[in-house]
């Protein structure tokens, strides 16, 4: 059952196009950050639902592969404090006891290089600076640890992946914590800071997280049209 659902998503993503009832409309897909021909809002919701289904079955699916990846992403920023803390022995041990096998770090513009390692029962660590296929890495991850940029947050949430957002305390105008804290309050993700990340990983309960239903821009479009004097519809 699970594999069928999974194939359907893969098809949509790879074709980048989906025709339904002859009607073709466009919508940017947050799964793969490419623009797809899909029918309006519905498909995006379906994406998330499908992913959520897969994630729910993640235990068995990952169990077969025996690979549970933690993907760390800092976007285009420089966030060495996060890279350093996920590379610390404490956090790596905690992830290992939680059943994760791989740690993949997208380190962006940072200069701190994690220690690559792997094999003999320890956490396999790998890293890279930038990639055009962040979406693929997110999709194959079992847990995402991200910086607080809204792009990364919503891309992950719409994939239905468990997410820990780590707020960068060194930014001048630190408004980014607002979004992460609000979404944490609504139980869509966990919010941490570099020093508290280890504790968050130890105490988190991923089953208590609520799925995020994607937003909708039509209220804005309606108000804009009404303001400009265009007729409704």
């Amino acid at each position: 059952m699970g594999s069928i659902v999974f194939t359907r998503i893969q098809n949509q993503v790879q074709n980048g196009c989906c025709r339904r009832g002859g009607k073709l409309s466009t919508r940017s897909c947050n799964l793969c950050t490419r623009v797809h021909c899909v029918e309006g809002h519905l498909v995006r919701t379906e994406h998330s639902v499908f992913e959520a289904v897969i994630d729910g079955m993640g235990e068995s699916k990952d169990g077969v592969k025996g690979k549970r990846v933690v993907f760390v992403t800092v976007g285009t920023t420089c966030f060495d404090a996060l890279v350093k803390v996920v590379d610390s022995q404490q956090v790596k041990d905690e992830l290992l006891t939680r059943g994760y096998t791989n740690l993949l770090i997208q380190m962006g513009r940072g200069s701190y290089l994690p220690k690559s390692s792997g094999g003999d029962g320890s956490l396999a660590v790998d890293y890279f600076t930038f990639s055009s296929s962040i979406a693929d890495h997110l999709r194959s991850a079992s847990l995402v640890i991200s910086h607080a940029g809204s792009g990364s947050i919503f891309e992950t949430l719409q994939l239905g992946k468990p997410l820990i957002v780590v707020v960068n305390e060194d930014l001048m105008d630190n408004h980014q914590s607002e979004l992460a804290e609000e979404l944490a309050e609504r139980r869509h993700l966990y919010c941490a800071r570099p020093p508290t990340l280890c504790q968050t990983i130890a105490s988190m309960d991923l089953k208590s997280l609520l799925p995020y239903s994607p937003g909708d821009a039509t209220p804005v479009a309606k108000l804009v049209n009404r303001f400009l004097g265009f007729p409704e519809g």
Partner: protein
């Protein structure tokens, strides 16, 4: 003698100058007040076939993603031609807009060629730049923005921060005052802003430059009552 004849004349001319100056300032002031009074008042009914030239200011990263979500539900036959502006340091945003426009052109199968233009602008403030140096960079960005705006003269301005949109919106406002072009300015505050407005948002709200101001969290609407709460765009 010279002094006697010269003095009344120069007095007269300086009086005239001052009068002209005061009259000029008064006219401008009255016009500014009129524009502020009209800002936020809906425009008259128009036919659905009418088109409006639209300037779309793309932020970066998350901002662009939000804007693209909005563009996807806007009627592209009404908001045309479209001009996209992004910061010179941001290559991704225009690329995303191009992909979007190309997909529209494909789905229309070339029946009516959609006109869209893509431009880059100097950024007034980079993330993390200090407020002091951002005064100078804002000036440079403003001059460049003026040049672009004279070329575009949009009827609709859509923006959602960050700072890139401020010079463009101010110039759009000045165009309204001088009478070059009447435009409607729409600002959508970023989803990342939950409790406080961004600097760009605060300026456009307080100076009443934005005709309509949208926020994505109810907390902000309570704090800024003229804003419209529209729910999350992402």
């Amino acid at each position: 003698m010279e002094k006697n004849t010269g003095c009344p004349f120069s007095n007269l001319s300086s009086n005239l100058g001052i009068t002209c100056f005061i009259a000029f300032v008064t006219v401008i002031l009255v016009r500014v007040l009129y524009v502020i009074y009209r800002t936020g008042k809906p425009l008259n009914k128009r036919s659905p076939q009418q088109t409006l030239s639209t300037l779309i200011v793309l932020g970066s990263g998350g901002h662009t993603a939000e804007m693209i979500n909005l563009l996807l539900v806007l009627q592209k036959d009404r908001f045309t031609p479209r001009f996209y502006i992004a910061a010179a340091t941001d290559n991704m945003s225009l690329q995303k807009a191009r992909v979007l426009e190309n997909s529209w052109a494909d789905s229309q199968s070339g029946v009516k060629r959609i006109s869209a233009e893509f431009m880059q602008i100097y950024r007034s403030r980079e993330v993390g730049q200090s407020y002091v140096t951002s005064v100078w960079t804002t000036l440079v960005a403003t001059a460049h923005a003026l040049w672009l705006m004279i070329k575009i003269r949009p009827q609709v301005v859509l923006c959602n921060g960050p700072g890139t949109c401020i010079p463009l919106c101010v110039i759009a406002f000045i165009f309204k005052v001088i009478g070059i072009r009447w435009s409607s300015i729409f600002y959508v505050e970023s989803i990342a802003r939950v409790k406080r407005l961004s600097l760009s948002g605060l300026l456009l709200y307080k100076l009443q430059i934005a005709d309509q101001f949208f926020v994505q969290w109810p907390q902000l609407q309570r704090k800024y009552p003229r804003a419209h709460y529209v729910g999350c765009l992402m």
